[in-house]
């Protein structure tokens, strides 16, 4: 068991391709947190994230023969995950986003209370938390075309080329979408009545 744990992802995939599919369990153990985090960030819902997580692994297992080994395993897995999300969950998310555009009464009250407080101490902490919440809401309202590259970029510090590989886009398009996404995010936050 120890010996197989020492193996690199690439070697495990190669063995899976040769028929040792039981070794897939090691890949699941290694990448479970990273993949589940991506699923949660994409869907924003624990139940959908569970389904997407399971679906991604089953798809990965089915298409394990297509993994060439030239690239890392994680981006390949994330690509399957993003594609599954695009196919299955994006339409549902649009509905959710419309609902989320309206902050809850509790959040509105907290935001109003924090207006005008100082930037340091407990009040500063509240402002920072509120600012973070505003960015979260803005991020959620962003179109997936811009939201997904942003999520991938700030999630595990993925580089432009890795994001381009995952989304099957040219590097230049990813750069443009990241920069436009940030600008749109800033606009949404600044247009927010509690900014």
């Amino acid at each position: 068991v120890k010996e197989t744990w020492m193996l690199e992802d690439r070697d495990i995939v190669r063995r899976c391709q040769e028929g040792q599919t039981d070794l897939m369990d090691i890949l699941i153990d290694r990448h479970q947190t990273a993949l589940y985090t991506l699923c949660r960030k994409l869907t924003g819902d624990p139940s959908d994230a569970d389904d997407l997580f399971q679906d991604t692994w089953v798809r990965a297992m089915r298409s394990i023969g297509q993994f060439s080994g030239e690239h890392k395993f994680a981006p390949w897995l994330f690509r399957i995950c993003v594609n599954r999300y695009r196919d299955k969950y994006r339409k549902r998310k649009r509905w959710l986003r419309r609902i989320k555009e309206y902050p809850s009464a509790e959040k509105q009250d907290t935001a109003m209370e924090s207006v005008g407080s100082s930037d340091s101490g407990p009040d500063g902490q509240v402002i920072r938390q509120e600012a973070e919440e505003m960015v979260r809401v803005a991020l959620d309202r962003l179109d997936d075309k811009f939201r997904v590259p942003l999520l991938l970029h700030y999630f595990r510090d993925l580089g432009i080329s890795e994001i381009a590989e995952i989304l099957a886009l040219p590097d230049g398009t990813v750069k443009t979408r990241l920069s436009r996404g940030r600008a749109m995010l800033r606009d949404i936050v600044e247009d927010s009545p509690y900014a």
Partner: protein
């Protein structure tokens, strides 16, 4: 909001990690091992349907078999077809139902 502030918040959101429920991981491993047999199950099911279809056609076209027997045969064939088609198209629903049942039992 300053650009640096936005960058800091985005990095902070990006650092957040979520750990899957151990049960979910276990179910996923189980689903993967089961999915290996899915193509074989589909092939067997299709093969059986083909055999049943050929047999039904033979019964229908045979002049030696009376119409009452044919009617009974047709009735039996439709039951058989339902029995074979249900697992073929309902496999995913069944699995989802099983997962939902497990979740409820765990809750």
């Amino acid at each position: 909001m300053h650009e640096q502030e936005l960058e800091r918040i985005l990095k902070s959101i990006g650092r957040e990690q979520f750990t899957p429920d151990p049960d979910l991981v276990l179910r996923t491993k189980h689903a993967i091992h089961q999915s290996r047999f899915l193509p074989a199950m589909v092939l067997i099911s299709l093969g059986l349907q083909l055999l049943t279809g050929v047999f039904a056609l033979y019964v229908l076209c045979s002049p030696d078999i009376g119409w009452t027997t044919k009617a009974y045969g047709f009735f039996g064939f439709s039951i058989l077809l339902t029995v074979f088609l249900l697992p073929l198209f309902g496999i995913r629903d069944q699995l989802q139902g099983y997962v939902a049942h497990l979740r409820e039992a765990h809750a």
